[in-house]
């Protein structure tokens, strides 16, 4: 009988990710609510140090799957190894973080096992053993309660920030390496080294004040308005993805999961809806101001001060006031 929770502990660029501790917290919470225990699994090569760190958490066991073919991430290698881990642990639930790596290989695992991967979950509700998961749809504008209709293993990936890293409970677990057949798996990728675009990149992480502009600005011809606001506030200009996609501002001004993470004292979001991929890059800012014409925009859930209105009226008024 399938039993317990299996948590995927992710290594990226040779390090355990922060999201791993969030996943451990999520998996522990799920296990506690179901009256069962949680294990963790790690995939890679040379995992001893990382496994020892994960083993300091309250887990029944830490499984490792190691092979030279797993030294670098590939979806073929990691999907095969994850299926082996699931066969070994025979869990009722599998918990991932909704990272780019997980997005890349976990659907393959779901397809191989003919199961659902309920992705990008923000919350867990357990009542009488029945698990309901909350997902954001329409880019965070609406929430949906979702249930899984299949037998075990049922898979979930949690959105970044759904659980706090420091909520992962301490304990002490043993580490067990499990045998792998990955040696015979055809790895169809040739992966090159990861890199960061450095050419002339600007570092916004130290900026004390940021004015960030989103698709609400409509056209690059209107960017002057945002530049004027930034100047009046002595702030740097940043942007959400669509602005950089359109080439209106360079990529290195992009805030969010694919761009920069910033924590200025003041973050002014102008015409930005507040999709999670943007929010992860700025949610720890000191004071957040949102200007948006849609009163339901998710960015208002984060803001200290919210202005519902047309940015083309509000922003000039703010500039005028700042200059008085």
């Amino acid at each position: 009988m399938a039993n317990g929770v299996l948590i995927y502990a992710e290594i990226r660029g040779g390090e355990l990710t922060n999201a791993t501790w969030e996943s451990i917290a999520a998996g522990q919470a799920l296990a506690a609510a179901l009256g069962t225990t949680a294990k963790a699994v790690m995939i890679g090569n040379g995992l001893a140090d990382h496994a020892a760190k994960v083993a300091t958490k309250d887990l029944a066991e830490v499984l490792t799957i190691e092979h030279e073919k797993l030294a670098m991430y590939t979806p073929d290698g990691f999907a095969a190894a994850m299926v082996e881990a699931i066969r070994d642990a025979d869990p009722e639930w599998v918990v991932f973080s909704h990272s780019y790596q997980v997005r890349d290989f976990a659907p393959r695992v779901a397809a191989r096992l003919d199961r659902a991967l309920i992705g990008d979950v923000i919350k867990l509700k357990v009542e009488n053993g029945q698990v309901t998961l909350v997902r954001q749809i329409f880019q965070g504008k609406i929430n949906a309660d979702v249930t899984c209709r299949t037998d075990a293993p049922r898979m979930i990936s949690f959105q970044s920030g759904a659980y706090r890293t420091d909520a992962a409970k301490d304990g002490s677990a043993s580490v067990r390496s499990i045998a792998t057949e990955v040696g015979s798996v055809d790895i169809r990728w040739t992966a090159e080294e990861r890199f960061k675009e450095v050419k002339g990149a600007i570092d916004l992480s130290a900026a004390p004040r940021i004015v960030s502009v989103g698709r609400g600005i409509k056209s690059d011809e209107n960017l002057g308005l945002v530049r004027d606001l930034a100047e009046a506030l002595d702030a740097e200009v940043a942007a959400s993805r669509p602005i950089c996609d359109n080439g209106w501002l360079p990529m290195d001004r992009q805030i969010g999961s694919s761009g920069q993470t910033v924590t200025p004292q003041l973050y002014v979001a102008v015409g930005i809806s507040g999709a999670i991929q943007h929010v992860v890059g700025m949610k720890n800012s000191g004071t957040i101001v949102a200007i948006n014409k849609d009163k339901e925009a998710p960015i208002f859930d984060l803001a200290d001060f919210g202005v519902v209105g047309d940015l083309f009226e509000v922003v000039p008024a703010i500039i005028k006031k700042l200059k008085e």
């Binding site: 609406i142 929430n143 309660d145 990728w189 290195d252």
Partner: protein
């Protein structure tokens, strides 16, 4: 080179969403629709490869009859033909069942490349492309932000976006599937000539039974229950009034708190 592009029609991003009476979906009657954002980049990338290598671009869409508008637009931009899966059992499925349906339609086409957007703006599963690759036995790369193809089209080298500004190039043999990220290119607009020409391009309507899809294949493994507007957790101070009033209120709050 034969390229299949999966395109989904979704509610326009600026439309006001209202949850329907039984709280199971949004009220679609009041909405207008458009192609999913990342899918438009996927289509553009396919059209560019066709310009480079020759061949054919085929659009594959799962969605109700009115998705024909989005299909027409793709044909007007330069796709050669389309497969539209629109009968009731094929609409509103979860990611696994959607991918299974797409696999049944696309598999027999034996394309060299399949492109999907990386995620839909409505349900946001972000899985359909990767699931489809697995079901068709193809290698894939996800979140692709730049693409190179060899002269003979036998290999692709894709730049993947990783978190926090990291990137990675990966190479693989075709046939392969790529999930395309917004910003990879600048999508074109349809020309008048294209719009006229689109009327004559073939759209192959497929039903679940045409594709040999039975009840089990089309059962969603993930069930959407109740929809609701998220409850705000933070105490946001909403500043109200005309532009000058809110500007004055905001500037004095920022000054009082020593932020500026």
């Amino acid at each position: 080179m034969k390229i299949v592009v999966c395109i989904k029609q979704v509610p326009r991003r600026d439309d006001l969403l209202r949850i329907n009476a039984d709280k199971t979906w949004v009220d679609e009657a009041s909405l207008s629709f458009e192609a999913n954002e990342s899918d438009t980049y996927a289509l553009e990338e396919a059209l560019r490869l066709k310009e480079k290598h020759g061949g054919e671009v085929v659009v594959a869409t799962l969605g109700a009859a009115d998705a024909s508008k989005t299909i027409k637009e793709a044909l007007a931009k330069g796709a050669d033909r389309a497969i539209h899966m629109c009968d009731a059992p094929l609409v509103g499925l979860d990611a696994v069942a959607t991918a299974r349906s797409l696999a049944a339609a696309i598999g027999p086409e034996s394309p060299d490349l399949i492109f999907t957007g990386l995620q839909s703006d409505d349900l946001g599963y972000g899985q359909t492309g990767v699931l489809l690759a697995e079901m068709l036995g193809l290698p894939h790369a996800s979140i692709v932000i730049a693409l190179e193809t060899s002269e003979d089209g036998a290999t692709v080298r894709a730049k993947r976006e990783l978190e926090n500004g990291w990137f990675q190039w990966v190479s693989m043999k075709t046939p392969a599937l790529l999930t395309i990220q917004s910003g990879i290119n600048k999508p074109r607009y349809a020309s008048l000539k294209g719009i006229m020409g689109a009327k004559k391009k073939p759209v192959d309507m497929k039903t679940a039974s045409d594709l040999g899809l039975g009840a089990d294949a089309l059962t969603s493994r993930e069930a959407i229950g109740t929809l609701y507007i998220p409850v705000r957790e933070k105490q946001t101070e909403m500043l109200e009034g005309d532009a000058d009033t809110v500007a004055a209120a905001l500037v004095s709050r920022l000054r009082d708190n020593g932020i500026i």
